[in-house]
Amino acid sequence: MKDGPRGIDCVEALDRLYEYIDGELTPVRAEEVRLHLEKCAPCLRVSQFEKAYLRFLEARTRAKEAPEGLRKRVLEQLLFDSDGKPDS
């Protein structure tokens, strides 16, 4: 039997929603979710809400960079280590 996209219900679509948004489904499984969302307005709204939530999470948490002092200390540490004795 050919394993093409088949119709899925809301339960299954929502169950796979995060994997769908994360790009973790196989093309066929993703296509099934996409087709469901295309014709199911309530599920599409859930999907838009969850996408907005994940975008918000990333925006709120990614800004922080390693402090400049730390970057320097790491580099110095490596320089010093390669001058000193190697792997023990």
Binding site: R45, A52, E58, R62, L70, R73, L75, L78
Partner: protein
């Protein structure tokens, strides 16, 4: 390829994950230094062409578990099972279906809420939603099957969403829906 050129571009990632694992800046810096030194010394074990970011994060996680985890101050933990059968969307779909209330919540509040997640859920969420690792990469770093990553991520995201929703209600960013 030299260690500096391959590994150092990931310093921000290593630092952010260290910060969320340890929960404080001084320890995060110690953890980063230790991780980079260990990685440098075992650079010959790294297989060129494989995922250097996942490799560094694995070293970081081991250092944290072995030396720092016990010292992590126990914040009030989020109950990741509290969300059973509850979805925030159901509560906001009439008032705010696009989740605009999220935008009023500031960075520090989000980070504080993440820090209250139990260890295994926090690390999974941070690796996925802050650092954008794939499920397979997270499975490798946290040494669990992909199925476990999936279920932890689901619970962590939903629990965090619930925490942020409760906070938004408390702050008056959104009205709690009458039951």
């Amino acid at each position: 390829m030299a260690f500096e050129a391959e590994a150092l571009p990931h310093l921000d990632t290593v630092y952010r994950v260290a910060l969320r694992l340890s929960g404080n800046e001084a320890q995060a810096e110690d953890l980063v230094q230790e991780t980079m030194l260990k990685a440098f010394r075992s650079w010959h074990q790294y297989e060129p062409g494989t995922n250097v970011r996942a490799w560094l994060l694995t070293i970081l996680r081991h250092s944290f578990i072995n030396e720092y985890r016990k010292a992590r101050r126990q914040a009030a933990e989020v109950d990741v099972h509290r969300v059973e059968g509850f979805t925030v969307f159901e509560h906001v779909q009439e008032a705010d279906p696009e989740g605009r209330f999220f935008d009023q919540i500031v960075d520090d509040e989000v980070l504080r809420a993440i820090d209250r997640l139990p260890d295994e859920f926090r690390e999974t969420l941070v690796l996925s939603d802050v650092e954008d690792l794939s499920y397979a990469e997270i499975a490798k770093v946290t040494e669990v099957p992909v199925g476990t990553v999936k279920s932890r991520l689901f619970r962590a995201r939903q629990a965090l969403q619930r925490e942020l929703y409760d906070y938004a209600v408390e702050m008056g960013y959104i009205e709690r829906r009458e039951e």
